[in-house]
Amino acid sequence: MTSGSTLTLDGVVVPAAGSVLDVVLAAGVELPHLCKDDNLPAIGACRTCLVEADGRIVAACSVAASSVREVVSGSERAVRLRRGVLELTAAMVTPGDTSGGPLGVTFRDTLARAGVADSPPDAPQPRSHLDASNSFFTFREDDCILCGRCVSACQALQHISAIGMAGRGRATRVTPGADETFRQSVCTSCGSCVAACPTTALSPRMEVRP
């Protein structure tokens, strides 16, 4: 077989176009991908789209399909590692009752499909701030999994850069301006961050909906 034009996915030969994640999703195979947004380049932060490619564990979003020959999406090791990462992610958030944006159910659905339990409602979280300064949306930190989609949408798609990922390690937080509120920042309320958020952290304000 010519390397590059096709690859073997779970034993089936498929066209090798785009990223490995594109190929897997096009084949109808279920694979978590919390930080990969259809409108944005791969971020590679959530590490949930792990598959085995030519025997190596890789994040499917960040590998070109043409650079691998064989992908196994459901190998025992890949499933175990995906589950391990999802468990770490689940422990970051306290389940809330907000509705979220258009993709807000993505994270809950992903956990449910993988059979990963929520963290206990009383689990201490390093991030717990609520920013309700914007008229159109709210930002609840304790629902944030730091996937980076909102920041990428704001910086790389809209070129506004109202928000960034301030701090490092567990102190990392999605932060408007120089530790300001959304209202104090240069945010134009374009809504791209809300549209990109896979959790209920960034939620449209119900009271202003038409």
Binding site: I43, I57, L88, G164, G169, G177, A178, S185
Partner: protein, 485 residues
């Protein structure tokens, strides 16, 4: 005759210099100060803030006054204690003089214990550069490829192949020298820049001749002030060999800057966090240019190579030619810098260094927070690229911390786990969430099995910091399970 000049770096590359200026003038960085620097560098405030707050060296509140005491592992092993009113700092890279005060100072000549071709006294000629200049650029490149020289930052990638890949792009190249020596227990680049600056400059001149880079940046650890000063003293006198003077940028700390794409983000005035690879820096690196990132020791080796090409290849193992600078510290009689051929057994190096201070050597941490512990039964292993033991030990950038009968191996393993958690940049979930959890589990009364978490951290993390973070813990658990039960 035209004088080649460097392409100007975009204004946003001035972020670190601007932050340093305000941090030293005010003692800390206020939100207003960061906003002002951001405007001067034409960077959106949120981007400047996310970058600034990622550097451990900057303060975001007025600092607590008091003497600074280094509480790095080697200093703690040698009895460092924190008196009332003193402020603890991380490793200050003076492990050869442990316990050390928490401030930078010039690297002392006496801490060079064993010198080879890299560390022998600087000569006052430019014979190596003249050798390279007598060749065509292609011939000089072929000499680098043929020498088998590999990168000394720790990954041991073939230098010639990296250069060929960047040149094959047929676009203006950026050359970045990584002097962001941030691994606790390693002080070799500070020694080279501070004590053998001409060897480094000659290597840089050779690299600049072969690569003809449009941009050249030397990125120095922000706390290595003495090394930076040494470089700034010598640079003005190097017009004869350097086509133009490199831009010197001081970092703001952070172990993750050893990862090359993180270093490139730092130079670009962005948040120091790793990029996805591919594309690799040789394809698309600094501001999208094909970029060669080489360590200080790698660059200095070019001088050795062109001065005596015949001597270069046979002096190391088959796989890797040349010598390696080892930074020895901890509970060893003669801590300091040792230059030995790659392929030397670890036991030989420990013997050269005079053995333990008290009792016996009980363990050696080889490769620091990204390496692993080895017990004396494994000291026959030779220094080489890649793993020295499947549980984690790597030669890496050459840091070796020795533990003796007075040392607490469990404490040392916990210190490495804590360090990796602290130094996680926070970008990817496995490292950000997994490394603090690993430390918490280790200190818990009944930690349960750790291997599932070690596997996730090692296999799922985005960059080498998380991928190699399991090493110290996994190796300590493997060789001394009783200490953790």
């Amino acid at each position: 005759m035209s004088v080649p000049t460097a392409t100007a770096l975009p204004v946003r590359s001035g972020l670190l210099a601007g932050l340093h200026a305000r941090n030293s003038a005010d003692g800390w960085l206020s939100r207003d100060a960061v906003s002002e620097v951001a405007r001067a560098c034409r960077i959106p405030v949120a981007e400047a803030w996310e970058a600034a707050t990622s550097y451990p060296q900057f303060a975001f509140a007025p600092p607590i006054p008091g003497p600074q005491i280094c509480m790095g592992l080697s200093c703690v092993l040698n009895g460092a204690a924190l008196p009332d009113g003193a402020v603890a700092t991380g490793c200050q890279f003076r492990c050869f003089d442990a316990p050390a005060p928490g401030a930078d100072a010039a690297f002392p000549e006496a801490a060079i214990r064993v010198a080879g071709p890299l560390l022998e006294a600087d000569s006052d000629d430019w014979r190596g550069f003249e050798q390279a200049s007598a060749m065509s650029r292609d011939e000089a490149l072929a000499a680098v490829v043929g020498s088998g020289l590999r990168g000394r930052g720790g990954a041991y990638f073939p230098v010639g192949r990296k250069w060929e890949s960047a040149l094959a792009e047929q676009r203006p190249i950026a050359l970045v020298v990584n002097a962001e020596e941030g691994e606790p227990g390693v002080f070799k680049d500070r020694a080279l820049l501070g004590r053998r600056p001409r060897r480094f400059i000659e290597g840089l001149a050779i690299a600049m001749r072969v690569l003809a880079p449009a941009l050249t940046v030397v990125f120095v650890n922000g706390e290595a002030r003495a090394a930076r000063e040494s470089l700034e003293v010598i640079l003005p006198g190097c017009d004869a060999v350097l086509p133009y003077s490199p831009t010197v940028i001081s970092g703001g700390g952070g172990y993750v800057l050893g990862e090359e794409t993180t270093l490139l983000n730092a130079i670009e005035g962005r948040k120091p966090a790793p990029r996805l690879r591919p594309p690799y820096p040789v394809e698309s690196g600094l501001f999208g240019m094909p970029t060669v990132v080489n360590n200080v020791e790698t660059i200095a080796n070019l001088s050795v190579l062109f001065r005596n090409p015949e001597a270069f290849r046979p002096s190391g193992t088959d796989a890797v030619s040349g010598t390696k600078l080892l930074s020895l510290s901890g509970r060893i009689r003669r801590p300091g810098l040792y230059e030995v051929p790659l392929g030397t057994p670890l036991s030989d190096v420990l013997n050269m260094a005079g053995g333990p201070i008290v009792g016996d050597i009980t363990a050696a941490l080889v490769g620091g927070p990204s390496g692993g512990f080895l017990p004396p039964t494994e000291f026959g292993e030779v220094l080489r690229p890649g793993l020295m033991h499947p549980t984690g030990a790597v030669t890496g950038s050459g840091g070796i911390v020795v533990l003796d009968s007075s040392s607490d191996i469990r404490m040392a393993a916990l210190a490495m786990a804590a360090y990796n958690a602290e130094e996680s940049c926070g970008k990817c979930t496995p490292c950000r969430e997994g490394s603090p959890r690993l430390h918490a589990l280790l200190t818990a009364r009944s930690p349960g099995p750790l291997e599932p978490l070690l596997e996730v951290l090692g296999a799922a993390s985005l960059c080498g910091l998380g991928q190699m973070a399991p090493g110290p813990v996994r190796s300590a658990l493997f060789f001394w399970p009783e200490l953790f039960s």
